[in-house]
């Protein structure tokens, strides 16, 4: 009964490859997010979708493309992976009115 599930948990890939991370939430939340956490544990928001529509798009290379087929899913596709993309990527969801963000368990991406 995982509330926000993302796959894979670990991803090791070579520079230049294209990879995707999937996220699904069963909380009925309207808004979903992608966050990046670097090696210093600093969390940065990348994208936010509300009901399949993009509402926040922070300064992120256009190699990163989110896709939301429905409000329960938000996937992240990364083209031409670079060493600097290595990080932990968290998916999250929320509902307006409080209650905070519910995070997935994270995907540790390592680019070699």
């Amino acid at each position: 009964d995982t509330a926000v599930s993302q796959t894979p948990k670990y991803l090791v890939t070579q520079m230049g490859n294209d990879k995707s991370i999937k996220c699904e939430q069963n909380l009925g939340h309207d808004t979903m997010y992608w966050y990046k956490q670097d090696s210093k544990k600093f969390l940065k928001i990348m994208f936010s979708y509300n009901n399949k529509e993009l509402i926040i798009n922070e300064t992120v290379p256009n190699r990163f493309s989110p896709k939301s087929p429905d409000k329960a899913h938000l996937n992240l596709h990364i083209n031409s992976l670079e060493l600097g993309d290595s990080a932990v990527y968290f998916c999250a969801s929320s509902q307006p009115g409080g209650g905070g963000y519910t995070f997935g368990s994270g995907t540790r991406l390592t680019v070699v």
């Binding site: 544990k41 600093f42 928001i45 963000y101 994270g106």
Partner: protein, 113 residues
């Protein structure tokens, strides 16, 4: 632009000692949220503060929101080894339904038994 500064960056305590982390925003916030992230884990929502001067308690944790809604603190009384992890705040400036979010850098708490 809006910033949320969180201090300290690291805190080492002996089990039983108290611990406090502070978040200070350059602008007035609509609300502030606190999260805990265990080593190797994901952030877990602890609480949201909305009202000026609000104080909320969860067992040994006390959360405060400043009168000006720019500052917030998380205080843990008599730390236990289970309290280890990174505590961070997320400040929401509001203004739209989804606000403008800024993240504290986090305080990494180590508790020595």
């Amino acid at each position: 632009g809006q910033q949320v500064m969180q201090i300290p960056q690291y805190q080492h305590v002996q089990e039983g000692e108290d611990f406090t982390t502070y978040c200070n925003s350059s602008t007035t916030l609509s609300n502030i949220q606190w999260y805990k992230q265990r080593p190797g884990g994901h952030p877990v929502f602890l609480i949201q503060l909305v009202k000026s001067g609000e104080v909320k308690k969860q067992k040994r944790l006390t959360f405060q929101f400043g009168e000006a809604k720019k500052n917030s603190s998380l205080h843990i009384t008599a730390t236990q080894t289970t309290d280890v992890g990174t505590y961070f705040c997320i400040g929401d400036a509001g203004g739209t339904s989804y606000g403008k979010l800024t993240f504290g850098q986090g305080t990494i708490l180590t508790v020595h038994p």
